[in-house]
Symmetry: C2
Subunit: 358 residues, 2 copies
């Protein structure tokens, strides 16, 4: 079939600079100030370069749709609403999540320089891309970063239940070494919903363990994904993690949580009141920075050189595969599958901007 | 067989006060000051009352053995070694973990009162019982508690590997409501090693999914548990969590991590240099405390009343089953299985103290 052949053709690769320009042009066209459009473009392409394909330029048509629908404020006054020595609450004024979270991460880093550690909560924000973007920001300042968020669509039920009350609330933690940074970024479900959507688009059978149906049986038929629940990691444990990360990133900050969550895939008009938390921890406050980095490197070497099981080629550290992708894609460009390309071309026509890569 | 019959007889129940007295007497007998012995007894029995059977009086013979072996300092000078407005590093001086962590939690709470949030790291500590004990301490101060620790025995390999480089590094988070507190306490493995030990003692087949062998195949034979690896929740995700929690609780604080971990089950003479982290977050710094508690209660009700799958009697909140056990055991006493009772009687004879319950 022609459609299948087109879908399975190797995707075109485009240089990061072209993607950035296209994203910035699009966001400028819907009213973002140049600086904010550049911030979003920079972070979205950073996601693409690191292999977070569901969080980069892929999201652009949806972001534009929600901006046009009035769900997102293109000219937010992002500000510190409350603060003390070791914390701040950032009011995102319903701006783009990338703009709000960049401000929040900067705030956390600045406060941790004097307080040693700072916990910054965020409310009235929006989807901000992959968690690792923000957990990695403190590393250049010799700090550890910890990021939590409430997801913008509920695909998880409390363990043993059916009602979709929880999102795949992610955690990311970044720690610097001299040779290796360790950056974990994970949803609290076995598979993120983006992976399910990709499999559904391709008509692929879902691996057992990703979703269950309302009787708790494995759901593998992509046509039935809509009636499925994402399975939390470790069953009740992943449910518990999603819940407490939601309390920390959402409830504490007066942001949406539980049944308050707005499904940003289905709704183009309602603000999501997305909550995040970003923590910056100054390594120098706890001890010698070089000593810490040497110990991270030593641990990384121990793990890399540890004995693999038969058939396992290599033991990976969290973040290592993303970094390999970053290096490869920085050289060869970001692969843009044909359906995504078609969507972006359509967007260019709608916004009357130059098409991607022209 | 007689032995089996004795093992399977319903365990005797003893009131908490008797357990506390026995623990305090034991620890006094091996040189702890009265105040510290009382702190340990209080927290160990709190663990027993909450159903954390592997973390209460069950651990007493091991603690005494390690104290007698010189591995633990009975008269530590626990102190703040470094501090800034939003953080502290506590030096446990190799004291009992319960004493050190009580001090660290108090420090975090006191600092969060002015800084809004405080991240307290701990080094040179020891096993401190269940994570929930400490994550729950900030709740009475209208704070959220977050606790991380490096476990004292490596039973997990990096995902895909065989070498035991990681422990079941736990996380606990507690948040207060008016009607319900939510307290999550979990290891980053599907089953904690204590559960495996209990099954092995009873000669029970291990459920599939708890352990794997060196080929990655399910290991269910309790006689082979020694050659098994604990399975992290969500495969590489649980491995990642154990790693970053270890970086935060261990490496950051100059405490043991990775291959530095001392197996406190096998070794009675070497200090473990156990690391922990306790974070206290003042709810009042972020917003209105009553509003927060009302939202926690609302979320708890939503989850409790949500629709269960067929055959599921009830949807639980994290911490709810422990609280039910606490209420039951506070009334009816703590069950002490016969083998544990025998071990405690032997301990009483060794220490020349009154037997438990006499």
């Amino acid at each position: 079939m022609k459609a299948d052949a087109a879908t399975s053709a190797p995707p075109q690769r485009l240089p990061a600079a072209q993607l950035k320009r296209f994203i910035a042009d699009s966001l400028l066209a819907v009213g973002l100030p140049a600086k904010d459009a550049a911030t979003c473009a920079e972070l979205m392409v950073r996601a693409d370069l690191h292999g977070a394909d569901g969080h980069g330029i892929f999201r652009l048509p949806q972001y534009v749709r929600r901006i046009k629908g009035g769900a997102v404020n293109v000219k937010p006054k992002v500000k510190v609403a409350r603060e003390a020595a070791g914390m701040a609450l950032v009011d995102g004024d319903n701006g783009m999540g990338h703009v709000v979270m960049s401000f929040a991460a900067k705030t956390a880093i600045a406060k941790a320089k004097t307080a040693g550690a700072a916990w910054v909560g965020v409310h009235r924000s929006n989807h901000a891309g992959p968690a690792s973007l923000y957990a990695a920001m403190p590393l250049a300042h010799d700090m550890i970063g910890l990021y939590l968020a409430v997801g913008n669509a509920n695909h998880m039920a409390p363990w043993g239940g059916i009602d979709l009350l929880l999102s795949t609330n992610p955690i990311a933690v970044g720690a610097p070494g001299n040779e290796t940074n360790i950056v974990l970024d994970m949803a609290t479900t076995v598979a993120a919903y983006g992976k399910v959507k990709t499999a559904v688009q391709r008509g692929e059978t879902l691996p057992e363990g990703w979703m269950i149906d309302h009787q708790g049986r494995p759901l593998t038929d992509p046509k039935r994904a809509e009636e499925g629940l994402l399975v939390p990691i470790g069953g009740y444990k992943g449910y518990g993690l999603a819940l407490v990360f939601g309390l920390l990133a959402g409830t504490l900050n007066g942001a949406a949580m539980g049944s308050e969550t707005v499904d940003f895939n289905a709704d183009d008009v309602t603000p999501t009141n997305t909550g995040h938390a970003i923590v910056a921890i100054s390594i120098a406050a706890f001890g010698d920075v070089d000593e810490f980095k040497r110990r991270v490197d030593k641990l990384a070497r121990e793990i890399r050189r540890s004995k693999p099981m038969p058939g396992v080629a290599r033991i990976w550290l969290p973040g290592e595969q993303s970094r390999a992708k970053f290096e490869e894609r920085s050289k060869l460009g970001v692969p843009i599958p044909q359906p995504l390309r078609a969507g972006l071309d359509k967007l260019a026509r709608e916004l009357k901007i130059k098409a991607l890569g022209t």
